[in-house]
């Protein structure tokens, strides 16, 4: 767990999302599915973000501006500094044989990095609108479903599913592919086990998603 003020290298629009690239400093990129806490200027609490892209010099985050924190992050400009803590939590297990990435909406955020590390496996991605679907361009070998079509219609049998997306999607995936790995979300204040704010029911018990997740076996959740 390291914390550093990283410099914004650039911010690029991707449909309604923004890809915020930061100069990497000395932070590790971690395992795909792990996350970082980014401190939006002017807000009290940092916000959890999955690592989207890692190069030798940059870490990039794909951000959906849905509230005050994410809006402040996508309004960062080149040269500004932003405090970043991470990598945090448990990422995806990468010892899978026939990976299939299944994502919905901003849930595609961790996939560019994940896809790279898994050798560009096939991906199926669902979006609300074709505007949102522009983010699919960041993920190699992706097949896209735009509502009313659902991403679960594109699921392929006999694959090791690694999924990220809204809760109803994850629940559907868990039913259809009970051995998949799912990346969950919860509001988080700290990201490192300090606040107990991120509790979710895991195996009937309330557990901290930031230390026990965010990636969980479908069977555990």
């Amino acid at each position: 767990m390291r914390r550093e003020a990283l410099i914004v290298a650039g911010v690029e629009r991707v449909g309604p999302y923004s890809l915020v690239s930061l100069k990497r400093g000395s932070l590790e990129s971690g395992v795909p599915g792990q996350f970082f806490m980014l401190s939006p200027p002017g807000r009290l609490l940092p916000r959890p973000m999955s690592l989207c892209l890692a190069t030798r010099r940059e870490l990039a985050f794909l951000i959906d501006p849905i509230g005050p924190g994410t809006r402040a992050l996508v309004e960062l400009v080149r040269g500004q500094a932003v405090d970043v803590l991470g990598p945090l939590g448990n990422g995806y297990r990468l010892d899978v044989k026939r990976p299939l990435l299944v994502g919905g909406g901003i849930g595609v955020a961790p996939f560019p990095y994940l896809s790279e590390r898994l050798g560009r496996p096939p991906a199926v991605l669902g979006f609300r609108t074709s505007e949102h679907a522009e983010a699919a361009a960041l993920v190699p070998n992706a097949e896209v479903a735009v509502e009313p079509r659902l991403v679960t219609e594109l699921l392929r049998p006999r694959h090791d599913v690694l999924a990220c997306g809204p809760e109803p999607m994850l629940a559907a995936v868990a039913r259809l592919a009970p051995r998949s790995q799912l990346a969950w979300e919860a509001p988080m204040a700290c990201g490192y086990g300090a606040c107990y704010g991120c509790a979710v029911r895991i195996g009937g018990e309330l557990k901290r998603l930031c230390v026990d997740g965010p990636v969980l076996d479908a069977e555990a959740a």
Partner: protein, 289 residues
């Protein structure tokens, strides 16, 4: 001296943060295990954060068996925060902890924002705890507990060795779209910047009424904030909400505190202790050690 605020750090998931502290304060332990409240448990507002964690903890037995031994390995002084629903609960918890040599002090959480404690029951709880242990006893109060200066006097008279000030105050946040409460419990405890002037006042007033050693907390984000609490009467500062955005806060605030104190001409931050009281000595119920 810098501590964490109870419930704002887990020394087992973040030992490197805990090691920067002068003592580690546990999350409040209750007699029975508690899962805590349903999500959503936290919300950010423009002036602080709300939480309704609901005292999630493994209960005293499992705490002694599983948690305490691992905390002991950190070789840090351990303060255990305890909470219950009757004076007997508190006495029981204190009896348990009295048997644990690794525990340096017990903090009585008398101020969970969802349970208002009248003066009478603070006195009763502290007295029961005092009977049950010879460990250092700190009474943790909220500025929303009515007249905190008088509550502090009641705690002092009942045998508290010190005070922890302040706990959160009840707050509410509504979803901007639906106008429904963000937290599952509707209201929750407000912490962070909004508490800063309130905490300063509580420390000031309680030092005046009791002269007891005080752990000051509430919105501390910088060395300057810590120094102000010390000037108001705190001898120790605890960090809560700031740890969530800055796990390096203990080290940073410690050096800022020294620098701030030096800039004002103090060799040591504690030389500014109670300075805000000027010549008015606190009623000498007990003096700071």
């Amino acid at each position: 001296m810098i501590l964490n605020a109870s419930g704002c750090l887990d020394a087992l998931t973040a030992p490197e943060v805990a090691r920067e502290l002068d003592a580690f304060v546990t999350k409040t332990v209750t007699p029975q295990p508690r899962g805590g409240n349903e999500p959503v448990r936290i919300a950010e507002t423009e002036v602080g954060m709300l939480n309704s964690i609901g005292l999630a903890n493994p209960g005293i037995d499992s705490f002694r068996q599983d948690v305490l031994p691992r905390l002991a390995e950190l070789e840090l002084p351990i303060w255990v925060s305890v909470g219950g629903f009757s004076a007997d609960d508190y006495a029981d918890l204190c009896r348990h902890l009295d048997e644990e040599p690794v525990v340096e002090a017990v903090e009585l959480n008398l101020s969970c924002p969802n349970v208002a404690e009248p003066v009478g029951s603070v006195a009763e709880i502290v007295a029961a705890a005092r009977e049950a242990t010879s460990k250092k006893l700190y009474a943790k109060l909220s500025a929303a507990d009515g007249d905190v200066g008088s509550v502090a006097v009641a705690a002092a008279k009942a045998g508290a060795d010190g005070l922890s000030l302040v706990n959160t105050i009840r707050g509410l946040a509504l979803d901007p779209q639906t106008l429904a409460p963000t937290l599952s419990t509707a209201t929750g405890g407000l912490s962070g910047p909004a508490l800063r002037p309130i905490a300063l006042a509580a420390v000031f007033v309680c030092f005046e009424t009791t002269g007891l050693p005080i752990v000051g907390m509430g919105g501390v984000e910088t060395g300057r904030h810590a120094l102000q609490l010390i000037a108001a009467g705190a001898s120790v500062c605890a960090l809560g909400t700031i740890l969530f955005s800055d796990p390096e806060a203990p080290g940073r605030i410690r050096s800022e505190l020294t620098a701030e104190a030096e800039a004002l001409g103090f060799e040591n931050p504690l030389d500014a202790h109670a300075l805000a009281h000027g010549d008015k000595a606190p009623a000498p119920l007990r003096r700071v050690a």
